[in-house]
Symmetry: C2
Subunit: 338 residues, 2 copies
């Protein structure tokens, strides 16, 4: 099998790539080539694998690559929410135009080769939001009507519908899966408005004081990177019938309040670590987060055997374990535990 991961040099894409390489197969078929297309170069450990081919550069310049005929595609590349709010054209280009180019390139290869690749599109819980004519329920379900309140959420939703239509036409065997907010991410804060969900765990564990920009009672569905990657692979491997229809499904999330996250941090790492987080409201971030889902249900993912992380302690423990064992986690990541 020849597999493509767009955004495969990013945190989640690289983890997905490592997991696929470790398994060596998808759906019982051996993975002979794994192509990583990303704006940036893939991590060295991935490029060292003889099965991996890296392509660095904008997706909009990769039409030939995308037309080259893949058996499976994971489409993760995306500009994040904060970036899209600051630069409207960047968002359209990086999310809408790039996805369109990918889908139309694959369509060309399907028409040439007579075989549609399986494609998993990483959509987002950010498709959901409250509109005056569509209040948001306490928990968003697979079938909740999305009315996104960011350009990022709008783009993800538009692509969900494109994936469904290209699938209906037989150009791809597509499945859109809505990722919950993924935490704990390693490294530096990024442009996502959700960045603090990782920050309030990551920084105190590294020994750094940090602030939480939203109130302690704010609730949100979170998934660990391990659980998220497992979800993407499960959706890829599901039969068309098991996936059920062509619309997007919610990947599992643990519906958790900021106060519960910090209580879990104290339980896992002690009160001194927890004390490094103070609350300092950032009205811009708080306003964005206020429009986000407070929690999710995931009936269809559940039917595929997927489950949310067992607890927030388990999510933090996964991060601590990752810091000790995985590439891409800085040496000082656990300095606060010493």
């Amino acid at each position: 099998m020849r597999i493509l991961i767009t955004g495969g040099a990013g945190f989640l894409g690289a983890r997905l790539a490592r997991e696929i390489l470790k398994r060596g197969q998808l759906n019982g078929q051996s993975v002979s080539e794994l192509v990583i297309a990303d704006l940036f170069h893939a991590p060295a450990d991935l490029l060292a694998d003889p099965r991996v081919k890296g392509h660095a550069g904008p997706m909009l310049e990769q039409a030939q690559l995308f037309k080259s005929g893949f058996d499976g595609v994971f489409h993760l590349a995306s500009a994040v929410s904060g970036e899209c709010e600051l630069d409207f054209d960047l968002g359209l280009r990086s999310n809408v135009d790039s996805s369109r180019l990918l889908l139309d390139s694959i369509r060309a290869s399907t028409e040439r080769l007579g075989k549609a690749p399986r494609l998993v599109f990483a959509s987002s819980v950010a498709v959901f939001g409250p509109d005056a004519a569509n209040p948001m329920p306490a928990l968003v379900a697979d079938t909740t009507l999305p009315t996104p309140q960011t350009s990022y959420g709008t783009h993800k939703l538009m692509i969900e519908y494109m994936v469904a239509d290209y699938t209906r036409k037989g150009y791809i065997d597509g499945r859109a899966a809505r990722l919950m907010t993924v935490a704990v991410r390693p490294g530096k804060p990024n442009g996502a408005a959700s960045s603090f969900f990782s920050g309030i765990i990551r920084e105190p564990l590294a020994g750094t004081a940090t602030t939480c920009p939203v109130d302690a009672h704010v609730s949100h569905p979170i998934s660990s990177p391990g659980t998220t990657v497992h979800g993407l692979i499960t959706v890829f491997e599901a039969s068309r019938e098991a996936f059920g229809g062509r619309m997007a499904l919610n990947l599992p999330g643990l519906n958790v309040k900021v106060s519960d996250m910090l209580a879990a941090l104290e339980k896992v790492a002690g009160p001194a670590v927890r004390a490094r987080v103070t609350f300092q409201k950032d009205e811009r971030i708080a306003a964005i987060v206020d429009n986000w889902a407070k929690g999710c249900t995931f009936e269809r993912a559940h039917a595929l055997g997927l489950r949310a992380d067992a607890s927030y302690e388990a999510i933090i423990e996964q991060y601590i374990e990752d810091c000790k064992t995985r590439p891409g986690y800085p040496a000082e990541a656990l300095n606060g535990l010493k």
Copy 2:
């Protein structure tokens, strides 16, 4: 006010243009210029009005026009459902790319002039359809989750969400209104799978035998052209608060079975006219129609004071009156009544 109608040379667009010219104003402001952009030339009666400027040609070549600064825009131009199913690229180009060019051109003019035009986007009841994971309710509401089963419906839905996001950002004051199937259309059958809804009334009134490609019990929401144009103008004139939120609303439709349509035809025009319609199932058309809404509710349009046509008899009587009085209706349209 300077007003643009895309698709303004089409049946519905031209009727909208005539109505606006007759009123002479929108929201109390005088209409000084009405620009009709369409692939085809506008009807002569419209071009004869000194306020009208016609631009014939593909929307994708009209960026300069769209950037020129309008106070109001009605975006009706679209490839229809049947065309989009037959030619996937045509659909993407005519619906998605053209709408994107329009919105981005207006965005440029808004940034230049510091004032966002009001924009009404003609979406469609075709956004609704059944998916394995999202069965369609008996009546589709403003808040029903759309899972379109055609490329046309997919494109309309994608543009609804773009209009909402460009509105959120302040580039337009946009409102998407979902048109029900409009009947009775004059002239020849077109590429729309819904074409027969007009044909089974229009052809027998002209004295021509015709076939109905679906079963008599098929139900669908229908709106007369007059009611539809009134709906578009009302949505344009509504305050932002009265429109309510940024998501699309359903324009009113009369939920009616084919058997009721034919009973109304018999009531209005007599049994000899009704007898010109026979049933001959077309599996391709029937399969498409089977995925369409059986009826609609229109809570938000109702709150704006809009109502469906009073009866199917009234819809047929509007057509007969139009044949006698309006441009664009062929002389032989009522030959079957003589």
